[in-house]
C-alpha cells in the first residue's frame, strides 16, 4: 500500500503479508479491505483508492452479491465505503501502479511486514523504517536492481527487425556507427534494407578522395547481408565510371527496388551505368546530373513505377522515348530539363498518370524552333504539372481525357516580341486541358492579341476550381466556358495584364455554381473594381468574396475608400459575405 497526497508525493507506505495460496480476486480484494481498514484507522477522509485489479473494482461498483469467501471480503469493504462517503475506489493500470509492485517485492526481503514513512522518492528510496530493525544496504540494492531491470536495454529489447526498420531511416554511415553500441548491434546494420551513402557525410571534400569513398562502399557491400534491398541511394562528389558501375551492380544483384543516383554538378561527369536499365525489380529511379542517356540498347524496367530525371543529359532526341518504351507500368514521371541541345522533347507513355515537367534554360541563341518543343502524349494522365522558365517553349499535348488536375505555369522570361506561334501553341495547349476539375493557370509575359482568345472556345465542363494569374483576359474566358465553376482564385498580375473584359452574357457558372471568389494583391485599379462589381452583381449564389490588398503601395486611406466603393456595389446574392483584408 502506498499513500500519497494530491501532488503525487508519497507520504506513507505499508506492506502486509498473507501466507498461503489464494486466488487473484481474493488476494486483491483482501488488499483493498486491508487498505480501507488501515486508512480508516488513521482517520483520513477524502481518499481515492487506486486498485490495479479490474475485477475487484467491477464487483464493487456493480454491487452484486457474491456468496463466497471473496464476497465476504467485498461486503466488508463495501461496509467501510458506505460508512465513509468520502472514500472512493477507482481502477488504475498496472503500469501506473508500479511503485506498489516495487514495494511488494522489496518487502519480501524484510523480516516482517513494514511501514515506511516519507520522504520517499519514486525510484531511489531513502527509506526510513519505523517499526523494525533496518536492513538498509540490502533493501536499497534490491530495489535498485528491480528498477534497473525494468528499464535496462529498452532499445535493445525491441526485436531485430524493428531495430533494422529504425536504422533504415539513418544514413548508412550512422547505422554502421551503431555497431559500437553493444555486441548485439555489431552487425545489425548489415540487415538494414536501405543503404544511403552521401560523400557529404564523409568529411569535407578535401579529406576524402574517390578511392577512400569507394573503399567504404566496397567494405559495406562486402559485409552486407540483405538479399532483397529496398533502397540504394548514392550521392557522390568524385567517382570513376567503373567504381560507379561496381556499386550499382552490387545493388542490382540484391534485387533493389529504389535507386537514387546523384552526381556532382561539376565535371567530370559520369554516364548512366547500363545495368540499371535492365533491373527487373526496380520500382523507383531517381537520377540527377547523369550523362549519356543512350538512345539504343536493351531497356527493360518491368516494375518501374516512378522515374525522376533531373538535369539528365540525353544523347539524342530519341533517348527519352527509348527509355520510356522500356517502362511498361510507369505511373509517375518527373522531368527537369536544363538543356535543349538534343532538340524536340518527346514524352510518350500509355500508362503514365502523373507528369511533372519543368524547364530551366536560357535559349537566347537562335536555334531552330524544333529544339524548344515539348510533345506530350500520355492518354492516361490524371495529373499534369508544367513549369517553364525559358525564353520560349512550345508545349503540345495529345488527348488528355482522364486529366483531373493541372498546374500550368508558363512565365516566359522576356520572350521575343510578337511570336504568333508561341501564343497560338499556348492557347491550344490550354484548350487541351478541357477535362480538368482543378486548374492552376499562370501564363505571363505574352502579349496575346484579344482576337486570339476566341481560339480558346472550348467548354471546361468538369472544372470546379480555378486559380488564375496573371493574364486576366483568361478569367472572362473561363467564366464563359466553365459552367460548373465553384471556386475562383485570382492571383497577382502585372498592371498591363489586368484587363477586364466583361462577358457578353452572364455566364452559367455565375448563375448556378460560383460560391467562392478570392482575389489576391488587389491593386485598387479601375479594371479590378470593374471585375469585382461585375461578379458581385451577377453571381447569384456567391457565398464569399475575399479580397486581399497588396501589402505595399496601398495605404490605409486608399484601402478604406476601396472597401467603401466595393461594399456599395449591388449584390446578386444576398447571402454573400465580403472579406476585405
Amino acid at each position: 500500500m502506498v499513500l500519497g497526497d494530491d501532488t503525487g508525493t508519497t507520504l506513507l507506505c505499508r506492506t502486509l503479508w498473507f501466507i498461503g495460496d489464494i486466488g487473484v480476486l481474493e488476494r486483491e480484494s483482501r488488499g483493498l479491505l486491508e487498505g480501507l481498514t488501515w486508512i480508516k484507522s488513521l482517520g483520513f477522509s477524502n481518499v481515492v483508492f487506486e486498485v490495479d485489479a479490474k475485477g475487484v473494482v467491477d464487483v464493487l461498483q456493480r454491487r452484486e452479491e457474491i456468496w463466497t469467501k471473496v464476497g465476504r471480503i467485498i461486503r466488508a469493504s463495501k461496509a467501510i465505503l458506505d460508512s465513509k462517503p468520502c472514500f472512493r475506489v477507482q481502477f488504475v493500470s498496472r503500469q501506473a501502479n508500479v511503485v506498489v509492485h516495487v514495494f511488494a517485492r522489496a518487502s519480501t526481503s524484510y523480516a516482517s511486514p513494514t511501514i515506511w514513512v516519507e520522504p520517499l522518492d519514486f525510484v531511489w528510496y531513502s527509506v526510513l523504517r519505523r517499526t523494525q530493525k533496518p536492513f538498509f544496504g540490502f533493501i536499497m540494492e534490491k530495489t535498485k536492481q528491480y528498477c534497473r531491470k525494468e528499464s535496462i536495454d529498452r532499445l535493445s529489447a525491441l526485436p531485430d527487425d524493428i531495430l533494422c526498420h529504425i536504422l533504415s531511416f539513418l544514413p548508412t554511415k550512422l547505422s554502421v556507427a551503431t555497431s559500437i553500441l553493444s555486441r548485439r548491434w555489431r552487425f545489425l546494420w548489415a540487415h538494414v534494407p536501405n543503404l544511403d551513402f552521401d560523400s557529404e557525410n564523409h568529411g569535407r571534400e578535401s579529406k576524402i578522395d574517390e578511392r577512400s569513398f569507394f573503399d567504404i562502399i566496397y567494405r559495406v557491400m562486402s559485409l552486407y547481408k540483405v538479399e532483397n534491398m529496398d533502397t540504394f541511394s548514392l550521392c557522390f562528389i568524385r567517382m570513376s565510371q567503373s567504381q560507379l558501375e561496381t556499386c550499382i551492380d552490387a545493388a542490382v544483384i540484391r534485387n533493389v527496388k529504389n535507386i537514387s543516383l546523384i552526381a556532382p554538378n561539376n565535371f567530370p561527369s559520369v554516364s548512366l551505368p547500363c545495368c540499371i536499365l535492365t533491373c527487373k525489380t526496380l520500382v523507383d529511379l531517381t537520377l540527377y546530373n547523369i550523362w549519356d542517356m543512350p538512345m539504343s540498347g536493351d531497356i527493360s524496367l518491368p516494375a518501374l513505377k516512378r522515374l525522376c530525371l533531373d538535369s539528365v543529359f540525353y544523347d539524342t532526341a530519341g533517348s527519352l522515348p527509348h527509355l520510356l518504351s522500356g517502362c511498361p507500368v510507369l505511373d509517375e514521371l518527373i522531368v527537369e530539363r536544363t538543356d535543349a541541345d538534343t532538340g524536340c522533347f518527346y514524352i510518350s507513355s500509355p500508362t503514365l498518370k502523373r507528369l511533372m515537367f519543368s524547364s530551366y534554360f536560357d535559349n537566347t541563341d537562335e536555334f531552330e524552333r524544333e529544339a524548344y518543343t515539348v510533345e506530350i502524349d500520355t492518354p492516361a494522365l490524371s495529373y499534369l504539372h508544367v513549369y517553364s522558365r525559358t525564353r520560349y517553349e512550345y508545349v503540345s499535348v495529345g488527348s488528355l481525357t482522364s486529366l483531373i488536375e493541372a498546374d500550368v505555369d508558363l512565365e516566359y522570361v522576356s520572350p521575343m516580341e510578337t511570336d504568333d506561334l508561341l501564343f497560338r501553341s499556348t492557347l491550344e495547349f490550354v484548350g487541351r486541358l478541357c477535362n480538368v476539375k482543378c486548374l492552376k493557370l499562370s501564363i505571363g509575359w505574352m502579349e496575346v492579341p484579344d482576337s486570339e482568345f476566341s481560339a480558346l472556345n472550348v467548354k471546361f465542363h468538369n472544372l470546379t476550381k480555378l486559380e488564375i494569374a496573371p493574364d486576366w483576359r483568361f478569367i472572362s474566358n473561363f467564366l464563359e466556358n466553365a459552367d460548373n465553376l465553384e471556386v475562383l482564385m485570382i492571383r497577382t498580375a502585372d498592371e498591363y495584364l489586368k484587363y477586364w473584359i466583361e462577358p457578353k452574357q452572364v455566364p452559367t457558372c455565375l448563375l448556378l455554381h460560383l460560391g467562392t471568389v478570392r482575389i489576391d494583391q488587389f491593386g485598387c485599379t479601375e479594371p479590378e473594381f470593374n471585375m469585382v462589381r461585375y461578379i458581385l452583381r451577377n453571381a447569384k449564389v456567391l457565398k464569399r468574396m475575399e479580397i486581399y490588398t497588396e501589402s505595399h503601395g496601398i495605404d490605409l486611406k486608399e484601402k478604406f475608400v476601396a472597401l467603401k466603393i466595393i461594399s456599395l456595389f449591388q449584390r446578386g446574392s444576398e447571402a454573400c459575405e465580403l472579406a476585405f483584408h
Binding site: S93, R154, S168, L174, T178, S179, L181, S182, N201, G203
Partner: protein
C-alpha cells in the same frame, strides 16, 4: 444539438469491435478503424466474436493506437489534416513511449504508423554521441575495451567527423 441528433443513429448503425488490453480494459472501436490494422482485420475475418484480446499491449499504448486508427478511419478529415495529425502524434513523445508504440504497431501491423514512429525514433538517434545513445536508451556496452577499439579501427570512417562519437 443537431449534430448529436445525427450522430446517434449513425454510430449505432456502424459495426464496432471490443478490444481488450493486457491490463483488462476494454475499448470500443468502430470496425472501419479496426480493419486499418492488418492483424485485427485478419482476426475479424476469421472469427465472429466481436471481442479481441491483445495480451501484449497495455492500456496507454492501445489507447494511442486506437486514437490513431480512429482518426485515419474518419472520412471527414482531409489527407493533409491526417498528415499533420501524424506529425503531431509522434512529436514530444518520450522514447520509451515510442518503443511501446512501435512494438504495438508491429504486432497489429499498422504499417503507416509503424513507419512514422520508427522514423521519429531514428530522428532522435541522429547526431547523438555513442555514450548519449547508450545512456538514453540504456544499452549496456558488453564489448571489452580491446574489442571496441578494434571496431573503431576497422570502420574508422563511420566516426570520422564525431557524429555518433564519444563525448
Amino acid at each position: 444539438m443537431v449534430t448529436t441528433d445525427e450522430k446517434g443513429p449513425l454510430t449505432a448503425k456502424k459495426k464496432s469491435v471490443i478490444i481488450r488490453s493486457c491490463d483488462g480494459d476494454e475499448f470500443l472501436v468502430s470496425e472501419s478503424a479496426a480493419v486499418l490494422s492488418t492483424s485485427l482485420k485478419k482476426i475479424l475475418e476469421e472469427k465472429e466474436d466481436r471481442l479481441i484480446h491483445l495480451s501484449d499491449i497495455d492500456n496507454k499504448t492501445l489507447a494511442m493506437v486506437i486514437a490513431y486508427l480512429s482518426t485515419h478511419a474518419d472520412d471527414g478529415l482531409s489527407d493533409d489534416l491526417k498528415r499533420s495529425f501524424d506529425q503531431e502524434f509522434v512529436s514530444g513523445k518520450e522514447f520509451d513511449v515510442l518503443k511501446y508504440l512501435v512494438l504495438a504497431t508491429d504486432t497489429l501491423q499498422v504499417t503507416c504508423l509503424c513507419y512514422t514512429v520508427a522514423k521519429k525514433m531514428a530522428d532522435i538517434m541522429k547526431n547523438k554521441l555513442v555514450e548519449w545513445v547508450r545512456r538514453e536508451f540504456d544499452i549496456q556496452n558488453d564489448y571489452t575495451p580491446e574489442a571496441e577499439a578494434e571496431i573503431r579501427r576497422l570502420d574508422a570512417w563511420a566516426w570520422d567527423d564525431r557524429q555518433l562519437e564519444d563525448d
